[in-house]
Structures are given as structure tokens and as C-alpha cells.
């Protein structure tokens, strides 16, 4: 009994920390950047939107904070939260902690869509639309392949996802091959590596809703994902329509991932690693894990993007950073848990 009480005490501190973390990270990030703005000015600029403060800062400082940093900070948080929650849900759904949100080919599909959009010389809106549409197409394709008379089994689905992923990766190579090596190819390569550099409110306006909707669905289903993570028969015997529930989770996660890829390119490792961090902190119960992933994912990608934009004069492609940090961390997890993912 005493242990349970103690556990509860820790939980409250943890919950407070998880709620506070992204908020603190958001405000801290707004004061960071290549353009020098004093902490006082940054703070005044921020509060000026709530309190009537006589401006003591320049117009350009305000532009930097509200037009450059804020949309980018929001995008990083949105993408981080989205990828993490999609990753955690997929790991539950596939009963496999090594699964990432791209397992069904959505990233490859979206990457191809974007590359195609760049190839035909479309404006940003077309590139993003293509990315989103092909991301969804890839997963629908995987579903079609995996469908048998018996419904679609997880194993078939994963295999189909691998096939679709390989197919779209080949198509990306094809686009790169025919792309103009001087003008289009570098853009495609840079885009595929992922970057938040182009973040604007316009992007958020259309990219945020699918991420919000998908995440809300997953958050509402979060306890059911526990049941879904049992064997199919067990879940069914607990009165759950497994096929149906799986598809809701897949559609919601795909919507999120496709939207994230279309906003800021392929950002790897987040959806794979953050759920593990979450499990270390709050345990495997998806009811708690999913909200925790929102908090940790948002804060983590924000932190990484801060490095990408503020560490050097040159932008560092974000997927390079997430991999450089993610891979060693994964090794640490492996060694710590002995591969048991406890």
C-alpha cells in the first residue's frame, strides 16, 4: 500500500513536469536564434501581445520573434508531438516496439509526392498537397495488397508496407534521376532530409488540422490501444472489433505522418525513440503514454530544431541531427533493457 502511495506522489510530480516542459521549451526557444535579441526584449515582445506594453524594441525584432521564430517553433512542436504519438500508437498496434510511423510506407510515399511536386516545378502548396496525397496513397496501397478473404493480418500488412515503401523509394530515386541536377536535385535532396526553415503560418494553417485531428482520435482511443496491443484473439475476446479499430488507428497515424512529412520533410527517429523514452518515464499503459509522448515529442523536436537553426550560421538538416542523437540513444536503451523494452 505504501508503495502505491509513493508511486502516486511521483506521478503527480511527473505529470506537472510533462505539462510544464513543452510550455517552458516554447518560451525559451522564442528567445533563441541567430538574430540577437536581448532576453528582456524577447520577453517584452512576447508579453506585449497580452499586456499593453510601450514598445522598446525594433520592428525587426518583433518580426523575428513572431514571423520567423514562432511559426517555426510551433511547427517543430506539432511535428514532434504528431510523430511521437503516431509512433507510440503504431508500436502498440503492431505489438512491436521497433516500429516507426513510416512502417506502412507513408514517409516514402509522401517523400515521392514532394519530389514529384518539385520535379514538375509546382509551388509550395502543390508540393505539400502531393506529399500528403501520396503518403495516404502508399498506406491505402499497402492495405490493398495485404487484404485477403480473412481480413488483413498484421504480418501481411507489415510486409505490404515494406513493399510499398521500397516501391516509393525507387520512385524517389527515379525522380532524382530525371530531375535537373542543378536546380531541382539539390532542392529534392534538401527537402527529403527534412527542414523547418520554411515554416510559415500559412503552412501551419493547412498542416496543423490533420495533425490535430489525427492526434485527437489517437488520444481518445488511447486506452483501447492497450487492448489492441494484445494478440488479435485476446483483443477480440474482449469484445473489440479489432479490424475496425486497427484501421482507425492506421488512418489517424497516417494522416499525422503524411501531414508532418508534407510540412517539413522526412524527419526520422522521433516516432521510434520518443515512445521508448515515454515508456521509461510513465510505463507502457497507452492511456498515460500517449499524452506523455505529445509532451516529450514536442519538446524534443523543438530542442533539436533549435540546434538546427541556432547553433551555426548554416542550417543543419534536421534528420541528420535526429539520427545523430537518436541512434546512440537507442543503443543506450538497448543496453539498458537488454532488448526487453521494459
Amino acid at each position: 500500500m505504501k508503495r502505491a502511495v509513493e508511486k502516486k506522489g511521483v506521478n503527480i510530480a511527473l505529470i506537472v513536469a510533462l505539462v510544464a516542459l513543452p510550455i517552458i521549451a516554447l518560451f525559451a526557444s522564442l528567445t533563441l536564434g541567430r538574430y540577437e535579441i536581448s532576453l528582456g526584449s524577447a520577453f517584452s515582445i512576447l508579453t506585449s501581445r497580452i499586456l499593453p506594453i510601450e514598445p522598446t524594441w525594433t520592428e525587426i525584432e518583433e518580426t523575428v520573434v513572431f514571423q520567423i521564430r514562432l511559426p517555426r517553433v510551433l511547427m517543430a512542436m506539432l511535428a514532434g508531438a504528431g510523430l511521437s504519438i503516431a509512433g507510440a500508437s503504431f508500436q502498440g498496434l503492431f505489438q512491436n516496439p521497433l516500429v516507426s510511423p513510416g512502417i506502412l510506407g507513408v514517409s516514402a510515399g509522401a517523400g515521392f509526392g514532394a519530389a514529384l511536386g518539385i520535379l514538375i516545378g509546382g509551388p509550395a502548396a502543390i508540393i505539400q498537397l502531393f506529399a500528403f496525397a501520396f503518403g495516404i496513397t502508399a498506406v491505402v496501397g499497402a492495405y490493398m495488397i495485404s487484404r485477403t478473404r480473412m481480413g488483413s493480418s498484421l504480418l501481411m500488412l507489415v510486409l505490404a508496407g515494406m513493399i510499398i515503401g521500397a516501391f516509393f523509394t525507387a520512385l524517389i530515386s527515379l525522380v532524382k534521376y530525371v530531375a535537373d541536377p542543378e536546380e531541382q536535385l539539390p532542392t529534392i535532396v534538401f527537402w527529403l532530409m527534412g527542414s523547418m526553415a520554411g515554416a510559415s503560418y500559412k503552412d501551419l494553417l493547412w498542416g496543423a488540422p490533420p495533425i490535430f485531428i489525427g492526434s485527437s482520435i489517437l488520444l481518445l482511443l488511447r486506452w483501447r490501444i492497450n487492448v489492441l496491443s494484445l494478440s488479435e484473439e485476446e483483443a477480440q475476446s474482449l469484445g473489440i472489433n479489432v479490424q475496425w479499430l486497427r484501421w482507425i488507428v492506421i488512418i489517424a497515424s497516417t494522416m499525422i505522418t503524411a501531414a508532418v512529412v508534407s510540412l517539413c520533410g522526412i524527419v526520422g527517429w522521433i516516432g521510434l525513440v520518443i515512445p521508448h523514452v515515454g515508456r521509461m518515464l510513465v510505463g507502457p499503459n497507452h492511456k498515460v503514454l500517449l499524452p506523455a509522448c505529445v509532451s516529450i515529442g514536442a519538446s524534443y523536436l523543438l530542442l533539436v530544431d533549435n540546434v538546427a537553426r541556432a547553433a551555426t550560421a548554416a542550417e543543419i538538416p534536421i534528420s541528420i541531427l535526429t539520427a545523430l542523437i537518436g541512434a546512440p540513444f537507442f543503443v543506450y536503451l538497448l543496453r539498458r533493457t537488454g532488448g526487453k523494452w521494459a
Binding site: 520592428e59 539539390p186 527542414s195 520554411g198 503552412d203 551555426t312 550560421a313 548554416a314 538538416p317
Partner: protein, 366 residues
Amino acid sequence: MKKKGLLVLLASLLAISLLAIGCPPPAPAPEPTAEETHIVIDMRGRAVELPRDINRAVTLLIPQPSIAHALGISGERIVGMHPTSMRAVKRGLLWKIAPEMTLADTGFVAEGWTVSIEELLKLRPDVVFQWCHWIEEAERIEAMGIPVIVISGGWTPGPEGTHRDLEEWVRITGEVFGKRERAAEIIARQREILERIGERTAKILDEDRPRVYFMFTDSLQTAGGDTHMQFWIEGAGGINVATEISGYTHVGMEQILAWNPEVIFISNRTDIMPEDILQNRIEGQDWRHVDAVINGRVYKIPHGVFHWSPPNLERVLLVKWAMQKNFPEVFADFDMRQIVREFYREFFEHELTDEEVRTILHYDNN
């Protein structure tokens, strides 16, 4: 039925391959005598044995067609060029002044700077030009018995290095095609022009030098201090704001605001025009508070035989042109139209029309 079809297919394949084997091998070329070949040292210091008469050259170096033309090498002698070169040929002046260049093959390039050996063999090249850092690719071609000359496209660090690279490039190209005197003449003339410019820029005080941002692509990609762009930006009396970074790298909008460039030059890699930046029309980028935009000092780099900004002969013009943009009062005496006319007459033996001058200078946009 299916099986039968397969058999037929196999049989016909076999027949074709037998036919191919049955063809008499091409008559062996007579062993070149000492008279017919000579040794050229390429930019990795390799001694390459070449036939004296080069009639079928293949080049992977993007600006090579324009350099070849300046050296008075007929376009017919270039049988293969990189697709990007071809685009520059067709976009710029060369298709007009050397239309035979457009007949060159481009299909031998597999991807980037790698070649499809069989396609290359079909072109029966006497020599292939390849970049220095693609040495493995060069050796692969050499294994087929085709001599390869490797060239550094201005990557030797420092403005001096890039300058020397280009001179070497021109000199070696002249040597390969038997145009040694013309090459020497071009090198000497360009050096002379640059020295004269140098004398004038040397007088500019450091505090007067404008901060220059070079827009390489529209996704905020610029050129760092170790690139060829440093050569002409400094040569024209400007300060490259991105000197501290390396290579052709992406930067953030906030970084540009922090640098706050006074002059912006836009490369021909992108379709962005000064108007797009002045009107702040690029999505996700906010240029309003940049000095160059406030003062309307955003310019599109000209494009003649080739883009002016990558390493090639027209860089001399670029330095002059950029100088005038950097210091409009000091170099008010530069009549760019006249300078351009004289330059193309001297180096490309082409008399520009007024219309061509306007197009080269992006006159309507600058």
C-alpha cells in the same frame, strides 16, 4: 502456350547474341606513333597520353562548352556534354553562335557525374573531361582505354586558388585541342583585366565595402567562404556575409536578418527575380527588413554564353558588373553595355545585338 512463348523469346535472344558475337570485331586502330600522341599533365598532376588530333571530345564539366568556344574550338569536336551544359547552351547565346554544339550527345551521363560506359563507348571519344574529385569515375573510363583529363573547377581554396584553377583549366583545354596560343592569350588578357579592376577595388576602404548576400537557390541556399563565389564577391569589393560557412549551404531567414546584407545577387540557378524579393513574394521568407530590400539593391546575375557566376570566362564580366552594383557612384564610368559588347567580341568573336545585351544583363529586371 506460355512456355512456348518463353522458348521463342529465349531462342530469339540467343540468335541475337550469336549475331552480335558473329560480327567482325572493329578493325584494330593502328598503334599511335610517337608523332601522333603527346603528353598532357592534368590537374591532378597525372601524365595523360593523348592523340594530337582531338576530333571527338566528351565533357562532364558544365562550363566547358563556353570555354571551348572561347578557344575557337569548333562545336563539332565536342560530341558529348553534360545535360546541364546542354541546357546552358540552349538557354544562353551558344545555340545561336555555335549551333553545332546542340548536336552533342547528353545521354551518356548516368547520374550526377557518373557515366554509362556503353553509351560513352558509342561516342568513340578521343578524350573525356571529368572533375578532379570524380577520380574513380575517371579511372573507370580509362580502364576502357579512353584517356581522361581531370579538372578542378575552382575548388582550390581561396580566391587565388580558384583563379589559378580556371587559368589552368583554360591552359589545359588549349593544350588538348591544339589551341595553346589562344589559351595563353585569353589567360593573359583576363589577368590583365582583373589586375586593373583589382587596383581600383584596392582603394576602397574596408568600411565602405557592402555586405553581400548571394542567393544560390530560392530555399535560402548560399555560398560560403570556401566557394568560387567568394572570388568574385571579394573581387568586386564586397564582403560575403556567409564567409564563415562552408560550401553551398542552407541558412535560416533569421540568420539573413542578422547578417542584414546591403546588396543581394541572385544566381541563375533559380527563377527568382529581384522583384520577387523586393515585393516579399517568396513564401516562408520575410525580406522586408533587409537593408538591400529597403534600398532596392537586389540584382539578378547576368547570363550570357554561360551563367556568369560559376567558374568560367565570363566571371571577369561578373566582377565588373558586381563592382558597379556595389559602388554605383565610384564606378559610374562603367558602361556595362559597352563592356559586355567588347568582351563577347574579344573572347567569343560575336557581335551582340542590342536585344542580346538586354537579355544578358537581365536588363528589364535589374
